[in-house]
């Protein structure tokens, strides 16, 4: 691991398929070598519904990423999302043997094992098990328990799991391209690695990655991940609402949303009329701007409300506030709505500065794919300490077993 490694992150989103090639340096920085995007077809609410279409789009995106970066992409970190992804916090307690008072790596492994031994549905598969903290003899907030004196070691885990078949579908689709999937990562976890900085995580923050089909969120408290999940609502729903309210085709609605849409409708005079044109530029109708905005507002509000509902009990602890990222976070006025919903400071944010193609990391649409690179890097850095080889093996075994059956 003496030299930098090149990773590729792939996110199959509802509106776009994005491949990011990045160089993870050993000093912790990331350089983006190339970004390839292609509009996505055959994806609904973050999940693939049409394999063939997705693969065509994926090939497009791949070529576009490979060309500028001069990298042949063979392995990818795959970002997955979808309503089936759920999370829970689990704690495993391990009492040290009588003759032993110092915590060793084996004890930690043991505690982890117990913590991870939670009952999830038979059909589900673990995506991530993130260490939140260790508790040594009741003392909370221990990060590195190895070498400490103690009798009772508890490992606090945040476990993210999803439906095996649906995760497999995504993996399978990518394998057929063919690409090798190095790891499957929940997109919100990836995005949080670049959107939230250390301080935000420590103070408590909620990152919502509102994409086309889903709103994925991760909530951090005291540098620990406390809640995460996916609301299967996103920008696509906003577009659909517009399309149905104005009775215009979906792609026109998308355009109206992007160019004219806003979540704020109170200060718009009632008589401000917006002309809706069809593909040829003919006016097919007029609509009050306030009406359009209210339609958008209602949906946006609902998405955020849904996220809030799922984070109930944690909202009070968010000192760093709410971070919005993802394509839909570009919607005008969404920060005001979020402020209203969460009553916390709201920041719209793209990825943290990484070097490379500048325009990319400014754009919140690319938070998740860039985050995948960062995730890969973190995984790499953790290797010697946490022996994730085992973890990795377990994951691979999981995946393999799913294929066999």
């Amino acid at each position: 691991m003496a030299k930098s490694t090149i990773y590729a992150g792939l996110e199959i989103g509802t509106t776009k398929i994005c491949v990011v090639v990045g160089e993870a340096k050993r000093d912790g920085t990331i350089k983006i070598l190339g970004v390839g995007t292609a509009p996505s077809r055959g994806v609904r609410k973050g999940e693939i519904v049409d394999f063939a279409k997705v693969q065509t789009c994926l090939n497009d995106a791949l070529v576009r990423a490979e060309e500028p970066s001069d990298v042949m992409i063979r392995n990818v970190f795959l970002g997955v999302s979808g309503s089936h992804i759920e999370s829970l916090n689990s704690r495993g307690a391990w009492r040290l043997p009588e003759e032993q008072s110092e915590i060793t790596e084996d004890d930690v492994e043991e505690a982890k094992e117990i913590a991870r031994n939670v009952t999830i549905s038979q059909d589900n598969v673990f995506l991530h098990s993130v260490t939140r903290q260790y508790i040594v003899d009741g003392q909370e907030g221990v990060r590195h328990p190895i070498g400490r004196e103690g009798r009772l070691l508890e490992a606090d885990y945040h476990i993210i799991h999803g439906v095996r078949g649906r995760v497999q579908n995504a993996v399978k689709c990518v394998r057929e391209v063919p690409l090798e999937v190095e790891d499957v990562v929940f997109t919100a976890i990836a995005a949080a690695q670049v959107v939230l900085n250390r301080e935000a995580k420590a103070q408590g923050s909620l990152m919502i990655d509102i994409g086309g089909g889903t709103a994925d969120y991760v909530l951090y408290e005291d540098s620990m991940i406390s809640a995460s999940g996916c609301v299967p609502l996103g920008g696509d729903h906003i577009t659909q609402d517009i399309a149905m309210a104005l009775q215009i085709p979906h792609h026109r609605a998308e355009e109206v949303k992007v160019t004219e849409g806003s979540c704020q409708y109170d200060d718009i005079p009632a008589d401000e009329i917006l002309r809706i044109e069809d593909d040829n530029g003919f006016v097919i109708g007029e609509v009050e701007r306030a009406f359009l905005n209210e339609v958008i507002y209602l949906r946006t509000r609902e998405i955020l409300d849904q996220v809030k509902e799922r984070c109930q009990g944690h909202i009070g602890k968010l000192a760093a506030g709410v971070y919005l990222t993802g394509g839909t976070s570009l919607l005008k006025g969404i920060d005001v709505v979020a402020q209203d919903v969460f009553e916390r400071k709201v920041t719209r944010s793209g990825s943290a500065p990484v070097s490379g193609v500048t325009a990319t990391f400014e754009n919140p649409q690319y938070s998740a794919p860039i985050g995948l690179i960062r995730y890969a890097q973190i995984l790499d850095q953790e290797k010697p300490i946490m022996s994730p080889l085992k973890r990795f093996g377990r994951k691979m075994a999981d995946l393999l077993s799913a294929i066999v059956f």
Partner: protein
Amino acid sequence: MVEYHRNSLTELTTPGSLKTCIVGIGGAGANVLDRITLDRTVDATLVALHTDIRVLSHSMAPVKIQLGVELMRGVGAGGDPDLGREAAMYSREQIRQAIEGHDIVFICTGLGGGTGSGAAPVVADIAKNTGALVFLTATMPFSFEGKRRLAQAEDALEQLQKRTDALILFENNRMGELILPKDGIQKAFIQADQLIAQSLRAVSTIVTTPGLVKLGLDDLTSALSSSNGRCLFGFGEARGQNRGSEALKRALKSPLIDQGRLLHQTKTLLVHIAGGDSLTLLEVDAVMRQLGKNVPDQTHILFGVAVDAKLGDSVSVTLISSLGLNQLNTIAAAAPPVDMLPIKSRTMPSVLSAVAAQPAAKVAALQVPLEMVFGEEEVTQPAVPEVEQVEMFATDITEQEILVEEVAAELPANEDEIYSEEEIVEEEPPFSYAPEPEPEPVKPIVRPRIEDFIPAIARTNTSSLAAVVARAAPAEEAPMAPPLNAVAAKKPTSQEEQIAFRFSNDEDRGRFKNTEPALAGGGEDLDVPTWMRLKRKLKK
């Protein structure tokens, strides 16, 4: 081919503005001049000086002076600064003639070689004697060029320090970061030249254009005043939403600033914000506030604002500061080992940060022809009042400082106010999806709400859009948001019920027809448009 008018370029001065002259010395200088000519970014007289006749003949600068014709016979100085100096001495008279009559003279050169290091001090001397302000924009050699060249550069620098008013030094090593590793070396040099051209343009704009909060030469020199300092320069321009912060972001992304990291060390930082007529105080405040996060509290911020109609709806942010070489190296060593490696393995090339500023250059380039027209018209007018203007700078200083302080004092006071205003633009009463038993209007605003559209949209076979338009015509329906029960009372027909039934149909899920429904806590299908569901609830 790039078209360019040799004659008009030489006389690009509008009356009242300071006359600037850019002198490019040696190979590096000639390259920068070419870049400036191509981009037409700076209104100035361009003069190219070189000992090598071949380089000179390829140069695009309108005025070319071959140094030491008799001595050198058109051959380069071969890396010997003494030869370069001698050659320049031979051509003293010619140089003086070219430089004379300008208020500001920029000398661009690459230090370390023969002509650049040798002739630059001579030219600086001459320029100083003509009474002009002398700026030096120089690049320090790559570390792989060897210690000898570095020493020559340092020597020249020492001499130049005494003769110039301000030094803007660029570290070539850092320039390597401007490009992607696989890009050609040519591109690397083009990028570097572009950056220097940009800085020249920025500096000359800052110093010459009138501003609301004016920055003068004094500010510039104090920003560049660290001993043995290297210039930290960042320029960003942006338009559209959030243009202020975007511009700042771009400026901070300049590799010479290293993502703003280097700013943590600076003692003085010059910030210049320019925009069109639409530039608001709020934007300026926001930019300064954001910048404040990148800069330690004790840094002396020299702040200037200018409104320049040329910029249209874009805002540009220029950051200039300097950092001692030692500091720079320690910081650089802490991050990527920049100075130790050859270019191709160097870390962090962010091309686009340099390229991002490009549109700005293009905009300026487009504007030049316009000015040229004016410039030509006014050539006959002698530009006398320049000297007075320079003096005016001096008298301005105190005023400026007060202004800067005032603004600085005002900012914190305003901050909370503006901030809170920004954050809580609209405080709406909490919106409830569940229908309230009480027939109170959800929002007390007298404007047609979504509830009004129920009858219109309920008729699914006709366009709701048409209904909206139709509704706008009869005045009696429009003015008030009726209480919820009133809406319900309007249409208690059987047709309504039928439609209510259909709402739970798959139809209403539109695009999401064939997907797993997104069910909320109450079992409602979230894929159905929110407004539709809301209406259904309201009707019940």
